[in-house]
């Protein structure tokens, strides 16, 4: 049998296989050390990791970070139940946090630091989740292709004249869902359906997974307009100051609904194994130093009243936000998803 010499025999292969399989058992993660926290984050790692690193640098508490989609993580927490190793959930959307709260996944908080720092409209009634930073759903446009007075409202984007000229996020993105909920609450289902149908036709295949891609497409002139959270535009401009893009704060006209606001926030998991450290992290995030990181690094609007937003952003007092309360996003969500599906957004 000439083939035996060069290669390991099948028996050797099987033997080594068994050894490898046994080795796999050693990778069963041991219980996390006492001074470490496990954070599930629905925010892009790029945006949240620097803030968490700053926390580790200050307190010495290590953080294990699992970055994924917000809804995906809420689903995961539901499936894991009490066995989860997560101590905190950070998301990009208040509606998801409220859903997690109503599903009994979050731990109510009684912390004076939180109540002092964050206004009540940006927290759950029992503080089971706490807003950390504000973002507005805005229109980004290419300054060489569009005049800023051509578009006043988000609803204008359904106009057939923008056919193939706009880019939108996919229907799974939590802030699109939140945005549609706010439009429904303001304008009713019929008008919202018309808007979404127009939007779908105009965007056609320009449906993106990530907001940064939308900003990129607008900056390159691939499309003229896009709908994104404001900070993606300012982050792009900070990296490439000459990019021909600018922001339209929509629906500010007389009788308009106001810009759609959402918050990124945090909640402590009900079965958290490191409750004290988790509270320390929340305290850090709502305090001025933590809030300043969201403002400076991420270009979001800090929710702490004494912390200023990045000067490049529109002054927060210069525009109106839509009047739909954040906690309402959760109850509106199911019907919103049905509507989105009926329209057939991608």
């Amino acid at each position: 049998m000439p083939f035996v010499c060069a290669m390991p025999t099948v028996r050797q292969i099987i033997l080594s296989s068994v050894i490898v399989l046994c080795a796999a058992w050693t990778f069963v993660p041991s219980a996390p050390a006492a001074d470490s926290l496990t954070v599930y984050s629905g925010r892009s790692e790029r945006l949240i990791k620097p803030v968490l690193d700053a926390f580790t640098a200050t307190t010495g508490i290590q953080i294990e970070l699992l970055s994924s989609g917000t809804t995906e993580l809420v689903n995961r927490l539901k499936a894991e139940g009490d066995r989860t190793s997560a101590d905190l959930l950070i998301t990009n959307d208040a509606g998801s946090l409220e859903l997690a709260r109503t599903a009994g996944l979050l731990h109510p908080l009684n912390m004076r630091e939180v109540e002092r720092a964050i206004p009540a409209q940006f927290r759950a009634s029992d503080n089971a989740w706490v807003g950390l930073s504000g973002r507005f759903w805005i229109i980004v446009y290419n300054t060489t292709m569009v005049k800023p007075d051509q578009v006043k409202s988000l609803l204008d984007l359904a106009d057939p004249k923008w056919k193939d000229k706009i880019a939108i996020p996919n229907s799974g993105s939590e802030y699109l869902q939140a945005g549609v909920s706010v439009i429904r609450a303001t304008h009713g289902d019929e008008k919202t359906t018309q808007f979404l149908q127009g939007l779908k036709i105009n965007a056609d295949s320009q449906v993106y997974q990530k907001s940064s891609q939308i900003v990129d497409a607008v900056a390159k002139g691939q499309v003229a307009l896009g709908i994104v959270n404001h900070y993606y535009v300012y982050r792009h401009l900070a990296a490439q100051p000459g990019a021909p893009i600018a922001v339209i704060m929509p629906d500010q006209h007389e009788g308009g609904m106001g810009a759609i606001m959402n918050v990124a926030g945090v909640g402590i998991i009900k079965s958290a194994k490191h409750l004290d450290s988790a509270k320390l992290l929340v305290e850090f995030l709502v305090a001025q130093a933590g809030q300043k990181l969201f403002a400076d690094l991420d270009k979001e609007y800090p929710l702490h009243q004494d912390v200023k937003a990045d000067p490049a952003l529109a002054e927060r007092k210069s525009f109106r936000a839509a009047l739909v309360p954040l906690s309402k996003l959760a109850e509106l969500r199911e019907a919103t998803l049905t509507l989105i599906e009926q329209v057939g957004l991608r």
Binding site: M7, V10, W25, N75, R83, Y208, E341, G344
Partner: protein, 527 residues
């Protein structure tokens, strides 16, 4: 004969039945969920998404399998039947795209062909400033990327068929006055049919369950839609419905392939052959062949890799190379090795029984093993997660759960090469060994296993490579702090940070290379 069958029956049969049962659980979970769904959800999906998604998925699978058939068989034939300078080199190079994950190829091509990308710049120099190239974010973009990435499956299996095929069949045809072309058409290709069909089936399953490329190219297939549903909605009813459709679709492909293969079963009669004679071409022919192969390997591997190297050397990318990076490398390698090993150990008894005792039960068990691959990664992952938390919560949060998902998901890739290997070996050989007084165990060790070793090794390597590149199940099931290279690539590439994604992507490619080297090493070529 009867004693062999009798002795084979009990333990092996039980193992196979148990395995099939476990493999079927996720499918059962998804089916139950889809069928118990509110009919309103069904009708809404039919009215909105399903027709588009079904059409897109079938159209992509169709175009990719036609292109891979042409690329795979022609390249296999060239390197086995034609002699030209550097032939041995090309023989290996054609496998290289297997080391390239679809999402890496997709992001490289969305850069190359994208709006304002280098290809467009070049084309505008030629055809005027308004000229546009076809968008990579389209049907044709997805077809191009998927075909370039998957043709080596067809190539590998065709090549191994051409090498292990008994040349005397062709020689008889030639001696009887049949022309070369006609011999190819009437003798060689029909003999290769089981292998080609297996290769195409692999390609189709791969395309249908791919998530990475179609999501980056924003081409809506069923699998992509399932992932979007799963990550965007709190209940996965709609995802289960779409998954069920996907399973049915893939089953149709598989049953067709199996039926096709049943009709053309060939046995080799000896263990060793002369290698076929290779025709020599003139220098013009050699240049044409080299150009053809160079174009394919260039587009599928050399060009993307050189871009990855260039990006990896950029200062932005260099900054990400810290100690975390070694963790990702280790995670990827160990996960892939475990999954491949587990897959081979589980797949072997299944394929063996189905081939030696093709009863309805055994064939059914084998088909059950294909369930995981047609369940898109995310659904298989979620089903495994829920099953584990219900049945064996101790393992929850361990790597084991991820490995189980991988094995369920990628077992078909292994079976596709274990099966033909077993089929090509005549059962007579085992029977002779038994008649000559060898025991069951000895027969396995000294006859069966050595003869099927090729298939065994190919199966392991294929599963290793696919696990290394796996994305959606890893995204959903990875324990905290267990990011793999694939996850890193995905995180950066999905935001078009090409440079930052490059080092991880390049490492996946590099880590896959030794495994590929094993695939093409001549030592174990059909002996």
């Amino acid at each position: 004969m009867n004693t062999i069958r009798h002795q084979l029956a009990s333990p092996l049969q039980l193992v196979v039945l148990a395995t099939a049962g476990i493999l079927l659980l996720p499918l059962g979970y998804v089916t139950a969920q889809a069928l118990s769904a509110d009919p309103a959800v069904w009708s809404r999906l039919w009215a909105t998404r399903i027709p588009e998604l079904l059409f897109n998925t079938v159209a992509l699978a169709g175009s990719v399998s036609i292109i891979t058939l042409i690329l795979g068989v022609s390249t296999a034939w060239l390197v086995t039947r034609v002699e030209f300078p550097g032939r041995r080199l090309w023989e290996g190079a054609l496998v290289l795209p297997l080391a390239m994950p679809t999402y890496v190829l997709a992001y490289v091509y969305s850069y190359l062909l994208g709006f304002g990308g280098p290809v467009e710049h070049f084309w505008q120099l030629v055809a005027g400033p308004q000229a546009r190239v076809f968008s990579p974010h389209s049907y044709w973009g997805a077809t191009l990327v998927m075909a370039l990435d998957t043709f080596p499956f067809v190539y590998l299996l065709s090549r191994s068929a051409l090498l292990s095929m008994n040349v005397s069949f062709e020689e008889v045809a030639r001696a009887s006055g049949v022309s070369r072309l006609s011999t190819l058409w009437r003798v060689t290709l029909p003999l290769m049919r089981p292998s080609i069909a297996a290769g195409i089936a692999l390609v189709i399953l791969y395309v249908v369950s791919d998530f990475g490329a179609v999501s980056l190219l924003r081409y809506q297939t069923l699998t992509y839609a399932v992932f979007q549903q799963m990550t965007g909605r709190s209940d996965n009813t709609a995802a289960s419905i779409l998954s069920l459709l996907l399973v049915v679709l893939a089953l149709i492909f598989l049953i067709t392939e199996r039926w096709f293969r049943q009709r053309s079963r060939f046995y080799q009669t000896t263990g060793r052959y002369r290698s076929p004679q290779r025709r020599r071409y003139g220098w013009l022919g050699s240049i044409a062949v080299t150009g053809y192969l160079g174009l394919i390997v260039g587009a599928a591997f050399a060009l993307p890799t050189s871009l990855l190297i260039q990006w990896s050397l950029s200062p932005e990318a260099q900054a990400t190379l810290d100690s975390r990076f070694f963790g990702f490398v280790w995670n990827s390698g160990i996960l892939a090795a475990c999954a491949a090993t587990g897959g081979v150990l589980i797949g072997l008894p299944l394929a063996y029984l189905a081939s030696r005792r093709p009863t309805l039960l055994n064939l059914g068990c084998l088909q059950a093993a294909y369930a995981g691959y047609v369940l898109p990664g995310p659904v298989a992952a979620l089903a495994v997660l829920v099953l584990f938390t219900k049945l064996a919560p101790v393992f929850y949060g361990s790597v084991l759960i991820l490995i189980v998902a991988y094995v369920i998901h990628f077992l078909p890739a292994g079976l596709q090469s274990l099966e033909p290997a077993l089929q090509q070996m005549s059962p007579n050989l085992e029977e002779v060994a038994r008649t000559l007084g060898l025991g069951m165990r000895n027969t396995w060790q000294r006859v069966t296993l050595p003869l099927i070793r090729n298939g065994f090794v190919v199966a392991w390597v294929l599963m290793f490579l696919q696990t290394m590149k796996e994305l959606p199940a890893t995204l959903l099931l990875r324990p905290v702090g267990f990011d793999t290279l694939a996850i890193r690539v995905w995180m950066e590439a999905s935001e078009e940070y090409y440079q930052l994604a490059a080092p991880s992507a390049l490492l996946i490619v590099l880590l896959s290379l030794p495994a590929l080297a094993l695939l093409v090493s001549k030592d174990w070529r059909a002996a």
